[in-house]
């Protein structure tokens, strides 16, 4: 009577199929599509987010639009189903995002969240002891840098715009994008240094 999740999905999919609500081939195609998009950046994925960040580093007008109205600014890359806010890191403030109540994530831009973002450990702890959590990610913040933790409690999603690494003047967007990690857009990491 205690079925595994695997057995339960099978039963559910069969029932939905019997009533004509899902087609296994369509399910397969959806899974393949998200796997490919994640891999090659054709859909919402870390690569897409990195492209947006790199552009903001190189294009002050895009950066201004991104901070003012992120949904409109990223529309040319991906249309958003929910509000989006971009949080710009500075020398004085670092931003981190979380969703304590479930696992809201800027997936319209970054794709599916990593397991740690959805974990009870991250959700419970990062609002209370963010410096300890960041240390587990290998981040140590300068003493005089303020730390802002953003709990995604409503439909607005957050993306962190990290600071541009030093010594990258004149770099192309493509070259810059390679420095932008997923964690740096969530706030649990810095961009790679060049």
């Amino acid at each position: 009577m205690n079925l595994t999740p695997e057995e339960r999905v099978e039963i559910l999919e069969r029932q939905l199929h019997d009533q004509g609500h899902v087609d296994p081939d369509t399910i397969d195609a959806h899974i393949t599509a998200i796997e490919e998009a994640t891999e090659d950046g054709t859909g919402p994925s870390t690569a897409l987010g990195a492209k947006v960040v790199a552009r903001a580093w190189n294009d002050p007008q895009f950066r201004a639009r991104l901070l003012d109205d992120a949904v409109a600014a990223v529309a040319e890359y991906a249309s958003q189903a929910v509000p989006l806010a971009v949080l710009a890191d500075t020398e004085a403030v670092h931003h981190v995002i979380v969703c304590t109540l479930c696992s809201c994530y800027p997936s319209g831009l970054l794709g599916n969240p990593p397991a740690w973002y959805k974990s009870f450990e991250y959700r419970s702890r990062v609002v209370r002891e963010p410096r300890a959590v960041l240390a587990e990610f290998g981040m140590e913040l300068p003493e005089d840098m303020a730390l802002h933790v953003h709990d995604s409690t409503a439909e607005q999603r957050y993306l962190v715009l990290p600071m541009r690494p030093a010594g990258t003047q004149g770099w192309s967007e493509e070259r810059l994008a390679a420095l932008v990690t997923r964690d740096s857009m969530v706030g649990t990491g810095w961009p790679l240094s060049h």
Binding site: E6, R8, H21, L101
Partner: protein, 210 residues
């Protein structure tokens, strides 16, 4: 059944203080950071992810979240992410009649992300208190912020209140949602120096008199 009636029934069933409301809770260990993580950790997770598409057209994301929150606490804490999705999809498929009937329920209308609200009750810098809305059925006010005073950062966007759309499976009229900043020192004690922000609906806030 009227919207109000539906909300009342759900409030009776179950309200807001669930184990899902994890912010600030102790007892959880190191964050499990995985390198080279696959998109899905097992084929069945991918199928759960894809099956969400069968139930979402006729309901709201808030009702999906609220359904997950009905999991018994011990089951919630011992289930993984996609197992919790599966639990909710099974129930939503059942309530939409998808398991026993072939008629597709009508897709619902959805809000679109808008620009900043034109008018708002509170402006940047004003102090607001989080209401003790403990009978809301479903809420997106985390427990750790309840009754605390914060500072409005901005009137961020407009969106239908989650309590209603969780109760009815339909989106109601939008309200202004504010990004509010709180001092972690107030919330979690004087040895905390960070700032916390949350996005809170107008109906979850009141003027602060302090």
């Amino acid at each position: 059944m009227s919207t109000r009636r539906a909300i009342d029934e759900i409030v009776t069933l179950r309200a807001v203080d669930g184990v899902h409301d994890l912010g600030g809770m102790h007892g959880f260990g190191a964050v499990p950071i995985e390198t080279g993580e696959p998109l899905f950790h097992a084929p069945w997770e991918g199928r759960v992810w894809a099956l969400l598409g069968a139930v979402m057209p006729a309901t709201t994301i808030d009702r999906f979240r609220w359904t997950i929150e009905q999991m018994p606490p011990a089951e919630y804490l011992t289930s993984g992410y996609y197992a919790r999705w599966l639990w909710a999809i099974e129930r939503l498929a059942n309530e939409q009649g998808l398991l026993t009937g072939s008629a597709e329920p009508a897709p619902i209308a959805r809000p679109k992300p808008s620009s900043r609200p034109a008018t708002a009750r509170w402006q940047r810098g004003e102090r607001v208190r989080v209401l003790n809305r403990v009978s809301a059925g479903h809420t997106r006010v985390p427990r750790y912020l309840r009754r605390h005073v914060g500072t409005v950062e901005r009137a961020a966007f407009s969106w239908p209140p989650p309590a209603e759309s969780a109760a009815t499976g339909r989106y109601g009229n939008a309200e202004v949602v504010y990004t509010v900043a709180f001092a972690a020192a107030d919330v979690f004690g004087p040895d905390h120096d960070h700032t916390l922000t949350a996005d809170l609906g107008e109906s979850d806030l009141e003027d602060s008199v302090t």
